[in-house]
Subunit: 361 residues, 2 copies
């Protein structure tokens, strides 16, 4: 049995630490594990299967001898280092948004479009957290009943903006409880100019704004969903729109998903049955007993939880549902490790003869 | 100038205390103000315009000599006492849901359907908080462009479940920050069997469930919107659906509102202009400068704040927007006092010859 030399790029972050943990619990046979980060984090000690590993500073040569890279250190870091890794023969599963829309890069949610891994030329992308959990619920519905339109509103956990944002929420929460002033420095998004209080507040901005008034997070949900379900980021077959809102919770995004199917004979019971059988999906939908997905129940779980499935009472063929999943696991680390498992299973942890080595612009 | 003897029923609650404050700041000339509550709160002292008033226990005879009642002590209290008040010649503005769907009771948002107050026979209803702020934004759009469909997702503040729920959120938040266990007793809704942690969590249940899978809160949003905009709680002219979610914030609900207008030539700029001119609405919509409605900015304000107005990029004539308002003010106390101001202005603070005295079933 082949064993793999694995590198985790961005190993000390909220997603990186979970990549270590998910890799530990995966079916992937590891020969060695290398933890990479910026110079700031180099020297830190982290454990893999009980063995202490020292975090190293990333350089192009860090990838010599590596078979598989799991990357989650930010878009510019992936842009810089993944071409170097591919050049050195490593297959990369990238959790950043940098390569997601590149037509040469498969965008994969294994339960939904695993076969796309066959097309890889060195880099594969892990979709955005909010896209993954929506597509986990919509994929089986699309296949069985078709989809005309999707309207999503997100309730996104602060950990999606990284460990420092999570620390900021906790600090601010204590300050508000103490009646003290808060000093926002990170949220809604590090990359923008103004920062606002997150504790006990709602911020309808995730990532930066495009000129059309949508945020980049909303843009991702629209185009990634099309790329995953229709294999074309601009496909018109399914209309998708979204409003993304950051809410003061720590882990596990919530989403209301309104969707209209092609097959108007579809019923909520049929959709519930379908999702109950769908791999990676757990239906929690028993209103009479107050059973529905909650963030604190989804935290630490690999599954996507779906509930509140019910028809629009006035629009036949349209339905509402509520979807919750751990944004750091299925929304990031676990989906990335799952893609790697899929590559291992299909013996595809090898850079092909025509590697894709994007220029770092 | 006529002066009024006013009674506030449920004066010690989260809404009741704000009714006192909004009445103080209103144009209503008061001769006397009587504060009523349950026996538990009787004896408490509260101030009105600097004068200390003692809260009295409510009895039918509490309403002798009263001209105007503002009620927010719960549905069963309104059911019991408002008929007694009307019998004694008092006009009642009820903030509970008890009489809202009664065809004999006008359901009023003054900026939208003020004329309905003319039809009152003793009782008028204040709509649900989440309905009011949605209708404040949709009313002007409906009049100008028509409306085909509305899909709303709410992000509702905990104060909507009362002062004790708000206390529970604050206690639980501190417990979570301390790493201690929480002991939920109230949320998601006092009237249901199970109680869940609200701090750092999302609960997709507000009020109890109907057999069709919708919560009573969602039912209210659907039918109250129709009654306010179309004067018929079951009208089919506008399709409305909603998913209501409680989020761990204190005051000022958020709502994503997706709507499709009749007039497909409508643009986001036209809708923005329209809302900028709408009374009681403040447009905060400048993404380039990260200007959008936030709960902590809306707290303590009477206005409804609207932002993130943008077209659905794939569905002409459909738009997304984000609406925030203080659920205790415009969503409750202020809208109730505003209805009373409207009655005063039209000299309608008198029970007509054919009073409506509903039986307390």
């Amino acid at each position: 049995m082949r064993e793999y030399n694995v590198a985790i790029l961005g190993a000390t972050g909220a997603v990186g630490t979970r990549m270590i943990q998910q890799l530990e619990q995966s079916t992937i046979p590891t020969k060695s594990v290398k933890l990479l980060a910026s110079s700031r984090s180099a020297g830190k000690k982290l454990k893999f299967k009980g063995k202490e590993l020292t975090v190293e500073e990333t350089t192009p040569d860090s990838f010599n001898g590596i078979d598989l890279v799991l990357a989650s250190a930010g878009g510019s870091v992936s842009a810089k280092y993944l071409p170097e890794a591919v050049k050195r023969g490593a297959v990369c599963v990238d959790n950043t948004s940098h390569f997601r829309m590149d037509p040469e890069v498969p965008l994969v949610v294994p339960e939904i479009n695993a076969d796309r891994v066959e097309e890889h030329r060195g880099i594969l992308s892990d979709p955005n957290c909010s896209t993954i959990q929506m597509v986990m619920a919509l994929g089986p519905i699309y296949r069985k009943f078709g989809l005309k339109q999707v309207i999503c509103s997100t309730y996104q956990a602060v950990s999606g903006a990284g460990q420092s944002a999570l620390n900021e929420l906790m600090e601010e929460s204590q300050q508000v409880l103490n009646g003290e002033p808060v000093h926002p420095k990170i949220l809604p998004t590090k990359g923008d100019k103004k920062h606002y209080q997150m504790a006990f507040n709602l911020l309808p901005q995730i990532d930066v704004f495009h000129d059309d008034g949508y945020t980049h997070e909303e843009w991702k949900m629209i185009h990634e969903t099309k790329k995953i379900l229709l294999n074309d980021m601009n496909a018109k077959d399914i209309k998708v729109t979204a409003t993304c809102v950051r809410v003061p919770i720590r882990i596990a995004h919530g989403e209301t998903v309104y969707f209209e199917v092609e097959d108007k004979s579809a019923t909520a019971d049929q959709i519930r049955d379908l999702l109950e059988k769908a791999p990676g999906v757990v239906v929690q939908d028993d209103p009479a007993h107050q059973i529905y997905p909650q963030s604190i129940l989804a935290e630490g779980k690999r599954d996507t939880f779906v509930g509140r499935i019910r028809p629009d009472l006035e629009n036949k063929g349209a339905f509402n549902m509520w979807v919750v999943s751990d944004n750091l696991l299925k929304g990031a680390a676990w989906n990335a490790v799952q893609i790697a498992e899929e590559l291992v299973k299909r013996d595809l942890v090898r850079v092909p003869d025509n590697p894709y080595i994007p220029e770092n612009k």
